[in-house]
Subunit: 268 residues, 2 copies
């Protein structure tokens, strides 16, 4: 787990993740409510983008949020404190070397984490270990291969392709969403259920076009511009054209479509 986190840790990235979380909270957290008194492990909380939603939706549960980055954890802690939630404990830990006894948690929640891991199956096995029998696992991932836009732009798809390739070179898989069901099934979980949750962002309207198309997805692609060019995956001209075309789908007459996958499963 020494590969660099593809999105970086800068302030702009933190803002992007915050915008993303606010907009997608409903899409991601719909159906995720934990009972009073239950323990929840959030593995890979990053800067706490999802932690606040978890704490808000399950105020009576006890949440332990881990991340391997102390910098991210500090941001997550500040964010959760600012939001006024006291049911979250933060701990610096690696998902593949969890400092918890077997069957320690009633539930595990993982969001936008598997995409960064060289071996998601090993991660699921590690999470299964700390989950009690009958406990639930929830996993949310995107899939950049589901991007669909109007007006269509080959340059935009090439720019997205750069992000996919960089994530691959960093040991991850930006197309992991479609693999969620096979991964959960192969990991030995019961009652595997995966739903596709599609964002349909209509350009020219406040809301998703601004917060998701522009501030989340286009900003994320634009964020790897220098690296993509440095690694010879694109040129400044072509990458800029792609980002411009992506951005244009947030204007009136444009449409941007992206599908997230949310899986739930039960530890046997």
């Amino acid at each position: 787990m020494t590969a660099p986190y593809v999105h970086g840790h800068g302030a702009r990235e933190a803002e992007r993740l915050r915008d993303q979380a606010d907009t997608l909270a409903t899409l991601i957290h719909d159906g995720t409510r934990y009972p009073v008194g239950h323990t929840v492990l959030e593995a890979g909380c990053g800067t706490g983008a999802q932690t606040v939603s978890l704490a808000r939706h399950s105020p009576g549960s006890w949440i332990t949020s881990i991340d391997r980055s102390a910098v991210s954890l500090a941001q997550a802690r500040a964010r959760v404190e600012q939001a006024g939630f006291a049911n979250v404990t933060f701990r610096e830990a690696d998902l593949l070397a969890l400092p918890f006894a077997p069957a320690s948690f009633d539930h595990v929640f993982v969001c936008f984490v598997l995409e960064h891991l060289p071996d998601p199956a090993a991660a699921l096995a590690a999470l299964a270990r700390v989950l009690r029998p009958g406990g639930s696992l929830t996993v949310v991932e995107g899939d950049h291969g589901t991007v669909c836009m109007h007006p269509h732009s080959d340059a935009a798809h090439r720019a997205v392709g750069c992000l996919v390739e960089l994530q691959r070179r960093a040991g991850g898989d930006a197309l992991v969403g479609r693999r969620l069901h096979p991964l959960l099934s192969a990991a030995g979980f019961a009652d595997v259920d995966v739903t596709a949750r599609t964002v349909h962002a209509v350009g020219g309207h406040a809301g998703l076009a601004e917060s998701f198309t522009r501030k989340t997805f286009t900003a994320m692609v634009d964020g790897v511009r220098d690296t993509a060019i440095a690694e010879g995956l694109s040129t400044l001209t072509d990458f800029a054209a792609g980002v411009r075309d992506l951005d244009r789908t947030a204007d009136a007459g444009g449409v941007f479509v992206y599908t997230f996958f949310k899986g739930t499963a039960v530890k046997r």
Copy 2:
């Protein structure tokens, strides 16, 4: 409207459309229920795949289903009669030359029709004419650009690309789904609302993998094989590899994802 219907009119195609309708009925018709006594125009009913669902869900409404193909209409009529519904009238007519007075209908329903038309905006204008002010329009379309599969296959995407290109050459647009919101807005409708409805077909399970991935989508792609090769878009070997890979996503461990778009709008 003299361009050939890309999917053909054979018996196999009729069976494919029937399988498709049975499986997708919930996805497509969810939210579409017409009040008792209201009149509904179904424009482009084809072989009646959706007509039966319309009649079932709105038994008190009066449905007029038109198509420009007498052969398809005869099949649609037989199908609706066999299902025991008596609230549907069939009429041979061209969507662009509707034999109805202005404001004749309370509602209009169109499914998988715009994708075949060279000028979907003209079609929407024609439909708006026969809709009363305050009446509703419902449009459902697919978008082959949303195809996403595991295992990923370039050959499969190339085979799907052949279908898209053939539909383009026939004057249609197999990627029209993403354009639904802009098209409805530009046509002057009020309260335009478009939702993405994503099929997530898990391989190895009865249900969608069999009925949608295999019998609907893969069969549809396979149905243009000879034409694609004759028009020089593919080779027998490459096309067969693509169809085989598509089909494989319906086996255990595979996943096939496809997004439909359903739009509703109100005549001003």
